[in-house]
Symmetry: C2
Subunit: 452 residues, 2 copies
């Protein structure tokens, strides 16, 4: 017979929820742990699921794997990955020629970037600088030497800021020669560099004279082309010097392709080339030579089709997007002095550093340049000094100035710029007119010590 | 009086563990959920802790934050970050001069890299190419034009492979002129680029003629210097042409600093400069000119101190780490033909693509080049064609060849190389002797279609 205790425990009538009297905490404990375990199981499953499945779309796992292949370690752009998926490159209608139009370029670039995800980071600010000169040796005996130095100058700037640079020295379209030659190169570069948001044409006779200054791309976020220019000089003065077409930034997009198509057709490939020369000459009284030129053509488009072009072409007049050498060259020594003054006061600006972190010091220097101004009359380093009218290659400079003024001006500009580069390698040209002589830069230069 | 049921429930003697009979599941449920909640709380706390605390070391949170600042979005190298922490740059004893030794360079570089974590990715393969020429215009009328083209060639190669390039055109040490001038530049570059594992000196008269080929750095993992050379020609033939010092790879490390110190002191800055000239002349019977030169000095070190140098200096003889132009130039047309044959057979190699993914096609092409061989007698594109003895700048070429052979050879080499670049921009030089003429590259070139 069952004992009263036990019978009550098991009595169906009472139906108490009775636990084993030996391990009441253990049972509760199991319940508790069971809940904990269950929760962890859910969290782990969820986590595994999130990490293995592709995100945001329904691409199959094989594509997700391909995407991970597409990214190289360290997230640098993967130069070794070009998937077989069709892009605009596989379209037999595609032409690199300035004479053939392209359609849907925005979609085509977008697709290429999507297929090459390792290029996504930084895509919106990626710039390729394009420059160049003629295929044959220069007529001016020191022409090629100067071009070499101007090219080195650009390579230095690009190295400091992480831009790619392409030097062109062939005529891509036999009709588009002289100043028109840049348009076929820019178009080809846009197609060769779908990873680039901007192509930056810089004439062979333009030098970077502020190695630290960066293009304020944010300023141009709503525009597709940037040139140095002033609206008043276009719409009121109708001047051929209202802007300079020797340095321009152009966004790698369909609008730009269409614009370049229009622009180029005012040149030698266009049916109305001869007519354009006459129209430009009669519109811009200070246009010197008779043939249609790229600069006059650009001003003409802005002048006559303001609605279409003014909102897309940024006329940058607030700093030396490119600057007239004649007014700039005499200011270098003073500018050097002003910057040295700042460095004498500010210890961190005297600090030696790796060339690759120069932008950090540029940012620090900025606060001390607030009083410097910008552009003409300022003592800020001019961004770009452009030797318009000097023609270093042919030597056929504008008769307004002597050749000697041009060449010696170039030497000063190039040495002024080189000093900003060479400093990171421990040296400086003490005299801007002397390209050969360099001196070591002492530690903590230009601090003169307690007696300075 | 308590009913028998209830009295048994509450009887101290039985001590059953009794639950409220109304919500037995709810209570269990609460226990279970309690366990689950507790587990989730633990997981969340742990996760928060892991994400906020610095890892691997005991750096304070401020440093961890600085580290996250140090990394720019997309993991590209952060050009805008140079922390205030002391590095070798802040040591007033540091000198960029070839005449001053440096100590503990390995530790100093390591510390710099640690403070600049955004440069860590790819650090072990990071290369900076250094080249250059004299400060003044060349004596040879076409000298600077050729130098300009050779420079463009190097810039093209570096752009394709993501290397930085520095062109030097000043004499950093007035005594170290001529072929000795490169050593001060290499040292300065090592200090200016602590982010670079390798500095690659390439003479101004050397051109890349295989734009796709990459340095097999893995091959050199146990060495600090790489030159084109052959042990037999050093240790048996004692020849001045046993290696070429015009193209060398040098690891950015203390061993290299010490080695360059020794090397440079066999040059004009060394006390025994005159003596070295005599020693070299008598050791290497085919050394032409009397003064101590960098190439003879290097061979001499390998020859006399084999134990010290042979294991550190890689004598690369298996491909054209640099190749003698005289034997190479006549092979370009044949090589062009062989590569075109492959492309006719292999559709993917005909595919147009962005210049930036050229390495992908290089990798694909490799399998078809297995029969090509390497170096002399092969039909593989020679990596570098070096115009030793041509002296493009002065024009004082070795009398063994005519100037015309030199210049026309250079033009062929430069156009042969340029064709590999220009192709990505849609054009090609149909004739290697003609630098001016380019033609558009048709879609699917060089496939001739079904009748080809």
């Amino acid at each position: 017979m069952v004992s009263p205790e036990l019978s009550h425990q098991y009595s169906p009538m009472a139906k108490p929820h009775v636990r084993n009297k030996t391990h009441p905490c253990l049972t509760d404990g199991f319940l508790f742990l069971g809940g904990a375990f269950f929760a962890l199981l859910i969290v782990w499953s969820f986590s595994s699921l999130l990490n293995s499945a592709p995100r945001f779309d329904s691409t199959p796992l094989s594509e997700a794997k391909a995407t991970s292949e597409a990214r190289s370690p360290g997230c640098a752009a993967n130069l070794r990955y070009d998937p077989p998926d069709e892009t605009f490159y596989d379209d037999q209608e595609l032409s690199y020629s300035i004479e053939k139009k392209i359609e849907d370029w925005d979609e085509k670039r977008k697709r290429w970037l999507k297929l090459h995800p390792s290029f996504a980071a930084g895509a919106r600010e990626r710039v390729v600088l394009v420059t160049g000169s003629q295929p044959k040796p220069c007529k001016n005996p020191i022409g090629d030497h100067l071009l070499l130095r101007f090219f080195k100058n650009k390579v230095d700037y690009c190295r400091i800021h992480g831009y790619d640079i392409f030097y062109n020295n062939v005529l891509l379209n036999p009709k588009m020669n002289s100043f028109w030659a840049k348009l076929p190169v820019v178009k080809a570069a846009m197609l060769a560099h779908p990873e680039a948001e901007w192509i930056w044409w810089v004439d062979s006779d333009a030098a970077f004279t502020d190695m630290e200054f960066k293009l304020p791309l944010e300023r141009y976020r709503n525009h597709n082309v940037v040139v140095h220019g002033w609206p008043k000089l276009i719409y009121e003065a109708k001047s051929w010097t209202s802007l300079n077409a020797g340095v321009f930034l152009i966004r790698n997009c369909q609008w730009s392709m269409d614009f370049m198509d229009t622009w180029a057709n005012m040149g030698p490939i266009g049916a109305d080339y001869a007519k354009w020369g006459q129209i430009q000459r009669s519109t811009f009284k200070d246009k010197i030579f008779p043939e249609s030129d790229d600069q006059a053509a650009l001003i003409y488009l802005l002048y006559t089709e303001k609605d279409k072009y003014y909102d897309n072409i940024y006329l940058e007049g607030e700093f030396y997007f490119e600057g007239y050498w004649l007014e700039i060259v005499p200011t270098y020594d003073n500018i050097t002095g002003r910057y040295m003054e700042i460095e004498r006061r500010v210890r961190t600006l005297r600090r030696r550093h790796a060339e690759k972190v120069s932008e950090s010091y540029a940012a620090q220097r900025e606060q001390y340049l607030k009083e410097a101004g910008n552009g003409r009359g300022s003592w800020r380093r001019p961004f770009i000094t452009h030797f318009t009218g000097c023609q270093p290659c042919s030597g056929d400079h504008n008769q307004m100035y002597s050749g000697e003024t041009c060449w010696s001006g170039m030497v000063k500009a190039l040495n002024f710029a080189d000093n900003q580069v060479l400093r990171k390698y421990g040296f400086v040209h003490p005299d801007l007119r002397d390209s050969s002589l360099v001196s070591p830069v002492p530690f903590d230069f230009p601090d003169d010590g307690p007696w300075g």
